[in-house]
Symmetry: C2
Subunit: 378 residues, 2 copies
């Protein structure tokens, strides 16, 4: 793996990253395909058309349904879903802590009940690496606990320390798996995850500790889970300078267009979020002037595309009036078109951000976007 | 409009039909987009990719939701849904008699309650023509009553006679509408509909009566509504010879692949049916060797496409195992891929049928398909 910063402006950076599955230009927004498919009937062929560089899939969902062992038999998730570009898999930790029930956390890992059929599953650092190795993603994420942002200090300290111990086990297990002959992707990368809620001292100490492990990249986890945007930005201001500048930085699960621009301004390379696809499925679409609710009666006779000048498959072919008609009639095609538009919007925004950083105009772009886009709760 | 038979084999015919919206090569299967969108998140752009020649939309659905007047303001349904090839609209009669409630049939027409919001609507021959004129379809269908195939003789006779009287009013109203300056498509074609249940004498007398009106085409309606396949074929054997050979013949709402082949063998040009899209949405897919249920566990590890050699967007890109995985996970993409495959299968079959008739091998093709495809209830 090669990660090379090609331009910087203030703390913002734009990098060229070469992986065994192709190049990633950062800052990048990963398009979320939970079970190896983007909700809203969007396929891997569509993802290429809308400019997606990295697809993100969820380890927990693929483990409890269909199963990573079966996917390994198909040569990994990229072959299974016919996506020849990079994939990042999360560790399963977030879903274990948010979806599964009857959880028991011990030093070894977590035992819990599947949210599908209730069967008992154990997942620790080694299991998470094994599943992600079976999926054969380009980038695996460390197994972590994501404590509530506003949990008590004592719990956050204890949890962060355990996640750091788990990280060392993840690294050892990933090295072992990458050395095996029948591993799908023997050059699988591992990103560590910084935790610590919004406690700056815990975040910084943890960042310094995990930076020493010399991993392929580092994520800031546990944000966008209940704290305010200001607390998120303050936490990033505090912790990102303590992560290696010359490695990719990933802000997990974030966020609105402005959140992403503010993350980029603080040195973040990777983002992912369900907002564009979830909003698309509710008929809420992004434009440079804020979100529109396509169910609104005022679009009944509107011949314009969702956004004038947009080159997405929805805007190239259909009017607001037609999309509203589909949504009102409950036609899946309406959700699909809104989702395609939103993902295209995010991917195009990232492309604009890269261009801005590489031409030294990012601060002007950031200012303009902060003026044009209204604050957005996602 | 020009309709020219380019090849015949027995009663089967293949024609080249030129309309104001483009050429239709027959026999043709029309892809059903109820409200101007194909269920299963299939767009007009997709329809082109899967070889659809004629899209079919439902007058009743478009009238009660969004509304034909609004669609007229967009320049008609073809512009509204961005489909530049021919469209056929049904008359609304079938839905009025199958979906709407509190119906009252009089000589003038039918009053009924909308199945969406219960508001009272009146539709007669003139109203149906006006709505279809607003939609601006290439081919409008006459307003008819479709009595249950097994209704009593006295009811079928009375209903068929009234439908014939309505047809004359449809013709007069269509001529009036086509002469107006602000009509969307001033060359809108009108197909009459033959009724009569499975009573051959009623069917034949009606066919002879309506043939005299010299319409642009003729449909056989009221089949595939409860009678057996044999009764359907016998009725076609009886009535099709009494419709003008040198005009397009349309068998409404039919059917399975074998139904279509048997219809073609009896001189039918046009078909439509919800089977391929409805089956697709249930994970049932067509192959040359019969239907497969993609939910079946035996496809869990199957790396083959739905059908080997198929050039549809699903088969070109995805395995049975992946499609099964999507269906099991409840991902809309699974339904979309199955629907795209099924519509492609039907369109490709029609292309094979045309090639067979034009090369004098239709009877061999028909025999082969009757041997290979098992009897299918749809």
């Amino acid at each position: 793996m090669k990660y090379e910063i090609v331009a910087e402006e203030g703390s913002a950076k734009s990098a060229h990253m070469e992986t065994v599955h192709g190049v990633i230009e950062t800052p990048v927004f990963m398009n979320v395909g939970t079970v190896g498919a983007i909700k809203g009937a969007v396929s891997s062929v569509d993802l290429k058309e809308i400019g997606c560089q990295v697809e993100l899939s969820n380890t927990y969902h693929l483990h409890v349904r269909t199963g990573d062992r079966l996917i390994k038999q198909f040569g990994g998730l990229r072959k299974f879903m016919n996506w020849d570009r990079p994939i990042l898999t999360d560790s399963g930790g977030f879903q274990v802590f948010s979806l599964a029930s009857l959880r028991k956390i011990r030093e070894e890992g977590v035992s819990f009940q599947s949210h599908i059929d209730g069967h008992r599953i154990f997942m620790g650092p080694e299991e998470s690496m094994q599943i992600q190795s079976n999926l054969g993603s380009t980038i695996a994420m460390a197994f972590d606990e994501c404590p509530p942002a506003l949990a008590e200090r004592s719990y956050i300290e204890q949890s962060t320390a355990r996640t750091a111990r788990w990280l060392k086990r993840c690294k050892a297990e990933m090295e072992r798996l990458n050395s095996l002959e029948d591993t799908v992707n023997r050059e699988q990368l591992l990103f560590g995850i910084n935790q610590g809620g919004i406690l700056e001292d815990v975040r910084i100490a943890n960042a310094e500790e995990i930076s020493e492990l010399d991993l392929d990249g580092y994520a800031v986890g546990g944000l966008a889970v209940g704290e305010s945007h200001e607390e998120m930005y303050r936490t990033l201001d505090a912790v990102v300078p303590h992560l290696p500048r010359k490695k990719p930085v990933y802000l997990m699960g974030v966020g609105t267009p402005l959140n992403i621009i503010e993350g980029v301004a603080r040195g973040v390379d990777f983002f992912d979020c369900v907002y564009p696809s979830r909003n698309g499925r509710h008929g809420h679409v992004y434009t440079k002037h804020g979100k529109l609710n396509m169910f609104n009666k005022k679009y009944e006779l509107d011949p314009l595309p969702i956004e004038e000048g947009c080159d997405c498959p929805a805007c190239r072919n259909y009017s607001r009036a037609y999309i509203r008609h589909l949504l009102k009639a409950g036609e899946m095609l309406g959700l699909r078109l809104c989702t395609l538009h939103n993902l295209y919007f995010y991917n195009k925004m990232m492309s604009d951000i890269r261009t801005a950083i590489r031409s030294g105009t990012f601060e002007a772009y950031r200012r303009e976007m902060n003026e044009t886009l209204s604050e957005d709760k996602g």
